[in-house]
């Protein structure tokens, strides 16, 4: 295309007007694209500025202290960070094998016509609001965990400190299970995309050497491990920030306990529970600092995951919508 400035010298006024329209259009859309970019910066700055009270008072000890006492104005975020990490990791441990299993089933075993129903179900699972998972978890899953899962675990594996104590139902285990259901669609659908992107020659070579189909699949899995890792980290990103479902089943107690049966607390659920009750400025400021920590962690986790998945599939639309 000819640049607009050169055309204006010779062109009729009408064409010049059109060029004006074009550059206006381009600048307008560029502005809005830049706005999206700017938004992340504004979000970070806003939270940093409004949590300055707590940042100045507690410094880095905010992240390492486990004392959370609004009455004495002592705030430490460690129990929440611990709860977020443990519940999310538990979710990944439960969801990853199942997710990869589904992806293998879809790429290796399922007939092609299953493709559509599958993506429909994934869309559904990903579209169910967090609060509905929470309600279901609270009324259906927690009683089941209390009456069946936890007694079973403590009877057979009670010697492991992870499964110690009374079966409350609500607690870290319940949070991990509900989160694993929620991150499963992400892990399964992106792993499927990643496995589909493995060159057929990889599997053909393995089969030609006399391997079984499963052995060929294992080669495909190990070939695509960085993509599957990306899918897992993306699932981690979703689990870290999940609020309502976790708040309803984790028990909400700011303590660090090894046992998965014990109630815990996460960064997102402390915000959901205490933000409207926070009366002093320092309290609000400490809560906003927790949001800032959660924001930074989520940004880092998502950035790493996107880079991994992108570099593997090299098409920009894989997993873009989830």
């Amino acid at each position: 295309m000819v640049s607009s400035s050169r055309l204006e010298l010779t062109a009729e006024p009408k064409i010049a007007m059109q060029n004006f329209g074009d550059s206006l259009f381009k600048y307008l859309t560029t502005f809005f694209a830049a706005l999206v970019l700017l938004l992340i910066g504004v979000m970070a700055y806003e939270m940093y500025a409004t949590s300055s009270l707590s940042i100045e008072k507690f410094g880095w000890s905010f992240l390492t202290s486990s004392e959370w006492d609004p009455v004495m104005e002592q705030y430490g975020a460690l129990p929440f960070i611990y709860g977020t990490l443990v519940s999310s990791l538990l979710a990944l441990i439960l969801a990853l094998p199942v997710g990869v299993g589904i992806a293998v089933f879809l790429t290796e075993l399922a007939p092609p016509w299953l493709e559509r129903p599958f993506s429909f179900i994934v869309e559904l699972l990903a579209g169910i609001p967090s609060i509905v998972y929470g309600l279901w978890g609270f009324f259906v899953m927690v009683p089941w965990i209390r009456s069946s899962v936890e007694p079973f675990l403590s009877e057979n594996f009670g010697f492991i400190p992870l499964f110690e104590g009374a079966p409350y139902g609500v607690g870290m285990l319940a949070a991990g299970v509900i989160l694993s259901i929620m991150v499963l669609p992400i892990i399964a659908s992106i792993s499927r995309d990643v496995l589909n992107a493995v060159p057929v020659s990889q599997k053909e070579a393995a089969l030609a050497l006399g391997s079984t189909r499963w052995e060929a699949t294992r080669i495909a899995i190990s070939y695509s491990r960085s993509g599957i890792l990306g899918a897992t980290i993306l699932g981690l990103g979703r689990a870290l920030g999940e609020t309502m479902a976790v708040t309803m089943v984790i028990g909400n107690r700011p303590e660090i306990k090894l046992s998965l049966f014990e109630p815990g607390y996460t960064m997102a659920s402390v915000l959901a529970n205490e933000f409207t009750e926070a009366t002093s400025e320092m309290y609000i400021s400490a809560l906003i600092e927790i949001a800032l920590v959660l924001f930074i962690v989520a940004i880092l986790v998502n950035a790493i995951a996107r880079l991994l998945v992108w570099s593997f599939t090299r098409t920009s639309n894989v997993g873009g919508r989830l």
Partner: protein, 280 residues
């Protein structure tokens, strides 16, 4: 002898591992089916005309509905759309039509990252930007939070859908001397309209189902809102408050609310299937 043993072992492992893969599909389907089953069976009982037309009753009185919450959710999503749709669609147009450079790649990347920001954090940001200066909770703050959530979804789907329009459309229009802005708005956009509407509906569905960003922006309201400057009820916050309450009536209404949300998601997913079917 040993070799045939090993061969059988490998055959067995092959079957066993593929069996596990099929099992994992079953394991994944169980919670989905259970969620649908429980929400429908527990939600239907509280779903009646009153639910859609009456205000919530005070503690102890039975009956009542969530009319104000349903209207509140519609208003909040509407406010969110006013912010989220223009920004998302225009940014999407930029990415698709002018997006062949480093800046666009950065925007694309950051949009995906923004999509991963926890919604409760968006709520906190809306609190600091809208609630703190105004000094009280309001529908505006809730709409603002939902708007931010909608931006990345709308941006990415708009871009993807515009990219599916064949380049020959653009070239033909430009060859006729139509300026680029007119080409984009009058020729490329209409060709991709179905897909863009799909993206908008996805964003609306996500916004309607959000609870966390509303907890301390729109707050809640047991009555009809008098102005957008005031706290406003929403279906999701009501489901949360009622769900954790000790009253049977309220819990039943929470399930009914959850049923409405699930039906919304189901209908939209089917609509999306339908809208994109002719395309591919």
């Amino acid at each position: 002898m040993e070799r045939t043993m090993f061969f059988h072992y490998r055959k067995f492992k092959n079957l066993f591992m593929y069996g596990l893969c099929m099992l994992s599909v079953g394991v994944a389907l169980v919670p989905l089916l259970l969620i649908f089953y429980h929400t429908i069976s527990l939600g239907v009982s509280a779903l009646n005309v009153d639910f859609f037309t009456q205000l919530p009753k005070p503690v102890g009185e039975s009956g009542g509905g969530l009319a104000n919450a349903i209207v509140g959710t519609l208003i909040l999503v509407g406010l969110g759309s006013i912010i989220g749709l223009p920004v998302g669609i225009l940014a999407g147009i930029y990415l698709s039509e002018f997006g062949n450079n480093k800046f666009a790649a950065a925007v694309r990347f950051m949009t995906d990252v923004l999509n991963g920001v926890p919604s409760i954090v968006t709520g906190v940001v809306a609190y600091t930007i809208v609630v703190l200066p105004m000094k009280h909770f309001s529908a505006y703050a809730g709409g603002f939070a939902l708007g931010i959530l909608m931006i990345p979804i709308v941006t990415r789907t708009t871009e993807e859908m515009l990219k599916t329009v064949p380049n020959s459309y653009r070239e033909a229009a430009l060859a006729l001397g139509i300026p680029q802005w007119k080409t984009t708005l009058r020729i490329v956009m209409p060709a991709a309209l179905g897909g863009i509407v799909t993206g908008v509906m996805l964003a609306i569905a996500r916004a309607a189902g959000e609870t966390a960003p509303l907890l301390f922006t729109a707050l809640n309201n047991r009555f009809w809102h008098t102005s957008l400057d005031q706290p406003i009820a929403s279906l999701t916050v009501f489901i949360y408050n009622y769900g954790v309450s000790p009253f049977e009536d309220w819990i039943a209404q929470a399930w009914a609310g959850a049923l409405i949300l699930i039906l919304l998601v189901l209908l939209l997913s089917i609509a999306v299937r339908f809208a994109t079917r002719q395309r591919y």
